[in-house]
Every structure is written in C-alpha cells, then in structure tokens.
Amino acid sequence: MRYLNFLVLLLVLIPIKAIALIEVDITRGNLNPLPIAVSPLSTDNKSNKTLKEILKKENIGSEISIVVENNLKTSGLFNPLNKDAFLQEPDIAHLKPRFEDWSLIKAQALITGKVTYQDEKLRVEFRLWDVLAAKEMMALAFTTVPSNWRRVGHIITDKVYERLTGEKGYFDTRIIYVAEEGPKVKRIKKLAIMDQDGFNTKYLTLGNELVLTPRFNPTNQMVTYLSYFRNMPRVYLLDIETGVQEVVGDFPGMTFAPRFSPDGKKIIMSFAMDGNSDIYTMDLENRVVERITNHPSIDTSPSYSPDGKYICFNSDRSRYQQIYIMKSDGSNVKRISFGKGLYGTPVWSPRGDLIAFTKLHKGKFYIGVMRTDGSGERLLTENYYQEAPSWSPNGRVLIFYRETKSDSEGKGFSAKLWSIDLTGYNERLVNTESDASDPSWSSLLSN
C-alpha cells in the first residue's frame, strides 16, 4: 500500500552552535506549557500553484504548520500562540526573525519554514529559533513525495520535541485499533489504522468477522490480532503492505492475546484448551511453538520487556486476576501486583522501567503504572470503564479505550480512544472516525 511508502528523506543538518537554552521538563505535569509561535511555512507562488493542483490545498505551507501546531498543543507541553498576533511575514521570518516582534507576543520559541516544489518532490525546510536568546537552535530540510505532507509536519514536531525536551518524539507514528459500529449485542468490528493525530484512517478488514486486539510488530509492517474467521477464534498475522493474512500456528483451540517479541521474531499469545489458558510463543521463521506457562489457571495478556528477557502477564492463579512477571523461558514466576482490586492487561514500557495496567476496584476502572517489581503504583485515571493501555514509543504517553454506560437498549453506549501523560495530566480524547477500542501505538516510522 502506498501510504507506507518510505519517506524519501534527506536530512540537511546544520550544526548547532549554541547550547540548548530553552528546555522543557517532561517529567512533571506541565502547568506552564512553553509559548511557541509556529509561523506558516512560506511558499513561492510557482510551487504553491503546482502543489495546490496536486494536493487540493489552498496553502500547503500553512497546512503543514497547522499539523505541527496541533501536535505541539496535544502534547500538553507547548502552547502554540494565535497566528493572528504574528507581526512578521513567514518568508522574512524564516530568513532572519525580528526577535523583538516575537518576544512581544511572549513567544519563547519560534518555528519557521519554507516549502518548495522541485523535481516532482516536496521540499520542506524548517528552523527552530530561541526567541529570548535570539539564536537558531536547529535547521533541517526534508524531501519527499507531496502526498506525504502530513508526515512532514509530524517529523518536524518530533525534531522540535526532541530538541526542546531531550527525548524522542512520538508524532510520526500510527495507531492501529478496532473500529466499532452497530448495536452492542451485535457489534461490527474492523481493523483500522490511522496517523497518531486521527488522520489518514484506513480499514484493513471489512467487518465480516469479529476482530480484536491488533498489535504492531517493531517495524510496523506486520500486525498480529485475533479474528473469529469461520467462527474459529485464532491469532492471525497480517502484512499491512500486501494484505496477506495467515493464521499463527496450528492450535486445536482458541488462541488470543497476541503480541510480538521486541525483535519481531516471535509471537507470544494465550492458547485455551479444556478450560485452561496458558502462554505460548511461536517463532515466525521456523514455526516452532514453545509452551511458556503450564498452570491450571488462566494465564493471558503477555507482554515482553524491551530487552526480551522477561515477560509480564495476567494470571488468576491466586484466585483473582493479578500481574506476574517471569523470565522469557517461563521460569521464576513472581507476582508483582498486591494492591486492592483486580489487575489486568500489563504492558511493559518501551523504556523498560514501568508496567502499565488496568485495575478494577470497587466498580471503577483505572489505568495505572507500577515499577517492574510492583512498587510505586500510580493510578493515572479513573472511570466507569476503561482498559488496555498502549505506550507511545518514547514511553511518555498511554493510549487506551473507554466505554460509557448504557441502558438495556444500548442507548448511551460509546467506545472511544483516550490518551494520558505518564504524569497523570493531559487526558485527551483521540479523534477517530467511528467508535474505537483496543488501540496499539506503533514505533516511530522514521528515526
């Protein structure tokens, strides 16, 4: 499929002379987001005319700047200023900003840029300026096919975020999820994929069979998920580019709760047989199936540590759902959740230090995090129903789904995606075309 075409990316790195002057602290809830001015990217008339024909956009430079602006705002760390207050023309600002003008409107950082069309490619350059120090902090240029213009906006945001926070961004990413429609008793579910900001939604299945819990492989080209194809719930593997699907393994019963190993070579999942669910892996190269747990309780929702050495999972071996960790060969099983209530859907942070989970206590559902030894439990959000957190690739944000109450006719029911910062701040509804559940965040598409 075309939308996964690799971005033709030429980075022209201009060395940065000054030490970082502005810094954004992302480890705390940010009550004072950094005021930043995102100037519309300037375009010459000729380029704009051609790009307008190709992309059906009045002013692509302005559109790209809006992508950047929305991303920065959504992060909760930045406060993009109203463009009406900008005094300087985009093209002149890009060459040399009049810093007094920008500090007058309280901007501490400024993004400027230029869009040109040459050799059938879209060329975008941008600069990040420190307004108070009156210095350029970064300058980069990208060349790509014009249809990739939104991705350019996401990559610019990632570069700015990284420059100002010192950590990788998460904007040039996608979310795979389950799109839902229809009455609650006969819900239709389809696999859907979209950009992190809710644009470019594509449906990967038609809704003929129930599908659940899609997850990306580390390179974002494959997806593993549960499908009720022919009324046989099994774990499937889907190649997003070719659309080829195959069942994973040859199990004589339901397989579910799949995830990839961090190297992408294995799928770990549950297999249910005679009322007992255990955890198995299948090697995708040699098809060797390995049994990881062997216990008469339910063992499910496995998730690897980023180094692949450990697995956290959900088990009711102590009678109710709790979180356990073990070595990746299944040895050294240890319970780590000891708080009040039930714990499910553990998922290891890409940074390795935390496990996110769903908790049910006294009729409320929580999304929370704990250290990998179970200490330091923090509940980030409480609601009537929510579950299944998935980490942003930099481990700073969680996406999950939330359902609302309904009456016996199903009135009032909705399922939506939400995101929240690890700090517990900045809770946001994630835009989706339809109702949605089971989100899974991709890794960065470009690095």
Binding site: L212, G275, G344
Partner: protein
C-alpha cells in the same frame, strides 16, 4: 405543632420510599440469587423443558445447583437425540478486561462441557467457543444485565 407535622410527613415519605425500594430490590432479587441470574427472560429452549443456557457468578465458572439441573436435562435430551451435536458458547459480562474475559468464557463453556460429559455425552459431540464479552444479550450497564450475560449457551451445531 407545625414542625411536628412536617416531621410526620417527612417520616411518611421516608417510609413510603423505603417500601418502594424494598419492592424494587425484591424484583431484582427474584431474578438473581447472589449475583447469579435465575430468571427466564433470555432463556431459549432446545426442547420442551430443556433450557439452553446456564448462568455464572462474577468471575466464576462454578456450576450452580440450578445450572447442573439444566445441564442434566440437556444431557438427557442429547442422549435421546444422538445425531445432534452442540456448540457451547461461553460468555462474560462487560466488567472485565477483554483478554481475560475470553479465557473466562472458555472456562465457563468447558465447565458445562465437563458436566455434560459426566452424564454420558461424548466429547466429540461437543465443541466449545468463547465470545468473552463480545456478544452480550442485554446491553444494560447494571447488575441484572451483567448476570444475564455471564452464561454458557448450548446451541445445536447441526
């Protein structure tokens, strides 16, 4: 004087509402024992007197006395109709994580299967499928609706 009248009225209203609540609770209780559904609203019949489903307590897969009774009738009917195969569909309510509920549905359906087998029904006549919380019969977000949804349903396969 006036005050005591108000007080009396308030007391009357309180009493009346207490009675009303008691009625409402009783009605629900008539359809639930503990939190296991005992009503017949959603129940279908495989044959006369042979109910198609059994219900479970929250997070449980233990068969109640009523469930065992239902399953014995199903076993008897299956023995008489030896050409009929069945699928046991296990379900959970919406108050649990999706993946765990898939496992729980499978466990519930297998509890029913095991019981049918002890009453002489061969394993190869019974297949099992779990829908977790994906196919509720009642869309309500309340304890009674959830109790109807925690079930294993015996469906004719042929």
């Amino acid at each position: 004087m006036n005050l005591s009248k108000i007080f009396k009225n308030a007391l009357l209203i309180m009493l009346a509402s207490l009675v009303l609540t008691a009625c409402a609770t009783k009605k629900v209780q008539n359809q639930m024992q503990g939190d296991v559904y005992t009503g017949t609203d959603t129940v279908k019949y495989l044959a006369s007197g042979v109910a198609d489903r059994v219900f479970f307590a929250t997070n449980e897969s233990v068969l109640t006395t009523a469930s065992r009774d239902t399953l014995r009738k199903q076993a008897e009917w299956l023995r008489k109709n030896s050409k009929i195969n069945v699928v046991l569909e296990g379900h959970a309510d919406e108050r649990g994580t999706r993946e765990y509920n898939l496992a729980l549905g499978e466990r519930r359906a297998n509890a029913a299967k095991d019981y049918l087998m002890t009453y002489g029904i061969s394993a190869n006549r019974i297949s099992v499928i779990s829908y977790g919380k994906e196919r509720p019969v009642d869309s309500g977000s309340n304890p009674l609706a959830w109790s109807k949804n925690r079930r294993s349903v015996t469906v004719k396969a042929n």
